[in-house]
Symmetry: C2
Subunit: 328 residues, 2 copies
């Protein structure tokens, strides 16, 4: 679909968003320097995107409904970032944002480019698993990053994204979002978001990273497939009301840009404490799976490179990745 | 170019290679079940590939010259591997075998697929540098590998390839080839070969690795560009005679398959001693560069994961990659 409004419509939308009151056409003409017919054209275009606009001869016009869509112009309006989300690829439906991101990254697309979709038909989870991504109910997105770090620091980057997501959820909803090392975000011990890092690298240099993010936002219990009903949750389930996806997305981009910049400069130095404070695994007895191998132990600490320090059978082990199960 | 001989020509070539004597056409007809006209057709085809064949009415035919080309059928004939080099993409000229390999690997091409070319126009070295790859004078190749290991083990895989190359050079030429951690092969302190690993990975799983290998074989001093004249060498320069590239290539594939299989089963357990024995950096004072950062220290050991243990300013450091300069 066409994903962009004309500049005329954007100007009108901005003006309409400033107030819930009616505005007289004549005043708008003066304010935004459009002709009457241009305003009528813009109203028509905005309506075709799902915006609802009241119009009376006496009072003028006002915005009565903003559709719950992640249109690029809704994301970039007032977005306080320097490079994240400045360029956006938006889709109604797509196989996988990570897959497209990977292909785009191979073509010199700039750092911070955002790929976002209302629905994924082949959403990817870790280890070749799928990620359930129904239309309009969550954030399904990928960012193209080009950090000058070694591949061994990827786990730390995954934690940075988890931190940004947890902080954004907390700020927007007040919910107690936590980080589950290395790549999940939990509320009340259930998965509300997940991060999938895919990278192209040489031995000691990352060429690019695709940071995929899936966040369950407005699903109800019955929206989840049976397989994940018990382990997954959404912001709506926890909060008992709908959440505006675009607000969380913008918060995430803003928080993550700060955190990512700090990480590129100083590694986890200024981030580790906050990551540890939000971590659900530290101090817990856990089982770690690596493919078919499993070990049990106690999660002691998160190291400077993002790895997990585990005590198992009296030995301290440094773990770079794997699946964590909390033992109760 | 067409890179394959017809089966008829292959059969004839095999028979001709068995002896340097003339063979009578009538005998060949009986041996390989071809008609006289089929044999004439095969001779013509072989000649079009650069093979020279003597033919007299009385004595019959014999092979007098095999062109120095890396034709797939020259590589696979008698190749003692199970999966390396079983499928070959061969080119007269190509930009970069790693780049093509990367694209092929994204399309489910099987493990062990070999991409090889007589010349690279954009040969890639590490860190975005170029690798000089003139026509017919070296081996410029890439292997597609799909090991089930974590990205942090990539340095070990690079060492495995270095070991296989050094052993193959030693066996074929008797030259004292050494390994320079993490990815070069040296003779008399000059670079004769280099390895470029590129990988696509998740946090804890490699999807695929492109193992690029460049080996200088039949260059003379004057064939090298000024920039690398002092630091590069070739087998011909060291040995003072030409080396058959296809022989080294086959040895490498055979050696590397064994080493790679051992690595996948048991990591460096059975390989580390040989790697250490051939290593030029151990016990030496070195400077390590990571981008703009540099540290000086003494190379102490190679760890189980392929990382280098360095003592610097009284501290032991574990180094996963970087550029090593030997200090004298």
């Amino acid at each position: 679909m066409n994903q962009n409004l004309t500049d005329l419509s954007l100007d009108l939308l901005k003006s309409l968003k400033k107030t819930s009151d009616f505005q007289k056409i004549e005043e708008l003409i003066e304010k935004i320097h459009l002709s009457k017919s241009q305003i009528q054209k813009a109203i028509k275009e905005l309506k075709s995107f799902g915006y609802q606009i009241d119009q009376t001869k006496e009072k003028g016009i006002r915005l009565t409904f903003i559709p719950d869509r992640l249109f690029p112009f809704e994301i970039t309006g007032n977005l306080k970032t320097k490079f994240l989300g400045k360029k956006i690829y938006y889709y109604g439906k797509i196989g996988s944002t990570n897959e497209l991101g990977y292909r785009l990254a191979q073509t010199k697309v700039e750092e911070g480019t955002l790929i976002i979709t209302e629905e994924q038909t082949k959403g990817k989870g870790r280890m070749g698993r799928s990620w359930y991504s129904p239309p309009y109910l969550g954030i399904w997105m990928s960012l193209i990053l080009r950090p000058d770090i070694s591949p061994s620091k990827a786990p730390a980057l995954s934690l940075c994204a988890g931190l940004a997501l947890a902080l954004s959820i907390k700020k927007l909803t007040g919910l107690d979002a936590k980080i589950k090392w290395p790549n999940d975000c939990l509320i009340n011990k259930k998965k509300v978001g997940g991060i999938l890092l895919e990278l192209q690298a040489e031995l000691d240099r990352i060429n690019f990273v695709i940071l995929g993010l899936g966040v369950n936002i407005n699903q109800t219990q019955k929206d989840f497939p049976k397989k994940i009903k018990k382990t997954a949750t959404s912001l709506k389930i926890e909060l008992k009301k709908n959440v505006k996806r675009v607000l969380l997305l913008k918060l995430f981009l803003e928080n993550f840009e700060k955190i990512y910049s700090s990480f590129k400069e100083d590694g986890l130095t200024f981030l580790k404490k906050r990551i540890k404070d939000l971590s659900v695994v530290l101090g817990e007895n856990i089982e770690l799976s690596f493919g078919r191998k499993k070990i049990k132990g106690k999660a002691l600490d998160i190291d400077d490179d993002g790895s997990l320090l585990v005590e198992s059978k009296g030995k301290k082990i440094k773990v770079f990745a794997g699946e964590v199960t909390l033992l109760r």
